[in-house]
């Protein structure tokens, strides 16, 4: 029962001839708030696509909730907010309610219909992210930060145990970024959702995260936010350069 939510063992991945992930090993324990940091092009989005099964590793093993990814079927346990969430089909006039409902499509399953219970759940989730007043507005008419919340609601509505967010605060103004981290904090603490967050916002990560992974093709750091802070103070220049193996698994 106490399998890590995600475990990756010796993962290698290359696009054509461009190796992007080399020997990546890491685990996300249940209940963690894990942050992934690292330079652009460091392979963070690729790592997530591997976890989501959108890409297959060239080598290595991925397990989700203890199961090999090839056998894993329970995708509604994983919620995902893409880096591209703000490049959705803008010509599509969907209301906030309709967009969040889409998060239930796969969970409800084929040949079954959306019921009044589902409707209730959708409205609750819209409230949970603070968008209750906008439920029947078209998504295209909202601000970037509001749209981001809607996409988080879409990911949350199926009651995932793991929520993955890829640079969710890009294009969101500072005040809303603060609210956004408060929301994540609440999801993690109150609703016990395991979080995996990719971000450049290392300051926020050191406040909220329980663990940080630094990725630049290889994992150059893995540890607690405090360890990460100590590291950045000394070795800031080396960080975004070539990989360095300094601090390692602090706990355990």
């Amino acid at each position: 029962m106490d399998h890590p939510v995600v475990s990756m063992e010796n993962i290698y991945y290359a696009y054509e001839r461009n190796p992007v992930l080399n020997d990546v090993i890491f685990e996300i324990p249940r209940g963690a708030f894990m942050g992934i940091v690292g330079p652009n092009g460091g392979g963070k989005t690729t790592l997530i696509k591997l976890i989501l099964g959108l890409l297959k590793p060239d080598n290595g093993e991925i397990r989700l909730f203890g199961q090999p990814i090839g056998k894993f079927k329970d995708w509604s346990k994983i919620g995902f907010v893409s880096q591209k969430a703000n490049t959705f089909n803008k010509g599509f006039p969907a209301t906030v309610f309709e967009v969040v409902s889409m998060g239930l499509t796969a969970k409800i399953g084929y040949f079954k219909f959306f019921t009044s219970n589902h409707k209730k759940k959708v409205l609750e989730t819209i409230d949970q992210v603070g968008m209750g007043a906008y439920a029947y507005k078209n998504i295209g008419s909202l601000s970037g930060g509001q749209q981001q919340r809607v996409f988080i609601a879409r990911a949350l509505v199926s009651d995932p145990e793991l929520l993955i967010l890829d640079e969710p605060t890009v294009g969101v103004d500072q005040e809303n970024v603060q609210k956004f981290y408060n929301l994540l904090h609440q999801l993690n603490k109150k609703y016990k959702i395991t979080l995996l967050l990719i971000t450049h916002d290392t300051a926020a990560m050191t406040i909220h995260a329980t663990g940080i992974v630094g990725l630049n093709k290889e994992i150059y750091f893995q540890g607690t936010p405090d360890e990460y802070n100590a590291l950045t103070n000394d070795k800031l220049s080396q960080l975004y350069g070539h990989p360095v193996h300094i601090a390692t698994h602090g706990h355990s």
């Binding site: 989501l52 099964g53 959108l54 079927k73 995708w75 509604s76 994983i78 995902f80 893409s82 591209k84 959705f88 089909n89 010509g91 599509f92 006039p93 969907a94 209301t95 309610f97 309709e98 967009v99 409902s101 889409m102 998060g103 239930l104 499509t105 796969a106 969970k107 409800i108 084929y110 040949f111 219909f113 959306f114 029947y136 507005k137 078209n138 879409r154 199926s158």
Partner: protein
């Protein structure tokens, strides 16, 4: 005028068929427009023409009574499956499927038309639609197809919407994108084949897209967009059929002109409500 449609059998069947396609063409059209597949619908209608020409040829030369509705449908469905294959092969250039299918359809049409000894009125009716071409059997076939289409859309509505809005999210959440795409394009092929008797090959994609273009300007949410599209589609078909009959014009032409008029009215309404809003704030 309307009395004639109720009185004469051949008109009544056209009229009832018009009512059916006024529902199914904009219904599928809504998904086609949001997925930016309007040109694919056009390409498929030309493949359907090849199928119809094939049916006419078989009938004339070999006296094999395949109803052109069915041969058109057969070609259209095969064409749609081929389009999905091409889109899979040319992932980075998905629109290349359009000229391939379109030119293939026109090429085959030309061959079958020539083999069947050239143009005739019947073919002309298929190009631009006709108020008097729908037989009782055609009507019942199209009724059957329409029921199937509406049921399948109802059954897969949530998957179709989810996939059309954000394909990556749909795939991650475990929806079988390929199968749903295939199902959708086959339905599109059926709608096109069913609509051709009334609106004609050249204008069928207009009936799938113009009402949606109008509805898009004023609808709030996707469901409402479907609803308005169908209402506009029905208005266009009914006014188009009656005026086509009255002025002896192929209904494809009148239906499209009415659709464009509706589009212009919605654009005007939008401007009007925008002005009012601006006015209200000062």
């Amino acid at each position: 005028m309307l009395a004639d449609f109720l009185e004469y059998n051949f008109l009544r069947h056209t009229f009832l068929t018009g009512i059916l396609i006024g529902v199914i063409a904009p219904l599928l059209g809504t998904f086609i427009v949001v997925r930016r597949l309007s040109l694919i619908a056009d390409a498929l209608s030309h493949v359907t023409l090849a199928g119809i020409a094939f049916g006419l040829f078989m009938d004339k030369k070999l006296a094999l009574g395949i109803a052109p509705l069915y041969s058109g449908m057969g070609f259209s469905v095969l064409g749609s499956i081929f389009i999905e294959k091409l889109r899979g092969v040319y992932k980075a250039y998905q629109e290349i499927a359009i000229p391939i299918i379109l030119s293939g359809g026109v090429g085959l049409s030309v061959i079958f038309i020539a083999l069947a000894d050239g143009f005739n009125t019947e073919l002309f009716n298929y190009l631009f639609g006709s108020v008097s071409a729908v037989s009782q059997t055609d009507f019942y076939s199209i009724l059957g197809i329409s029921i199937v289409i509406i049921l399948v859309i109802r059954l897969f509505y949530k998957e179709l919407v989810t996939l059309s809005f954000d394909e990556e999210h749909a795939v991650v959440s475990g929806i079988h994108a390929k199968r749903i795409h295939l199902l959708f394009i086959v339905l599109t092929a059926l709608v096109i084949a069913a609509s051709i008797r009334v609106v004609g090959v050249l204008l069928v994609s207009a009936l799938m897209t113009l009402p949606v273009a109008a509805s898009m300007r004023i609808a709030r949410g996707f469901k409402q967009m479907i609803l308005f599209s169908i209402v506009f589609g029905e208005v266009a078909v009914i006014i188009g059929l009656i005026s086509g009959y009255y002025f002896s014009i192929p209904p494809g032409g009148t239906i499209v002109v009415v659709s464009i008029a509706i589009l212009l009215v919605t654009l005007g309404m939008e401007r009007f409500s925008f002005r009012r809003k601006v006015h209200g704030t000062d």
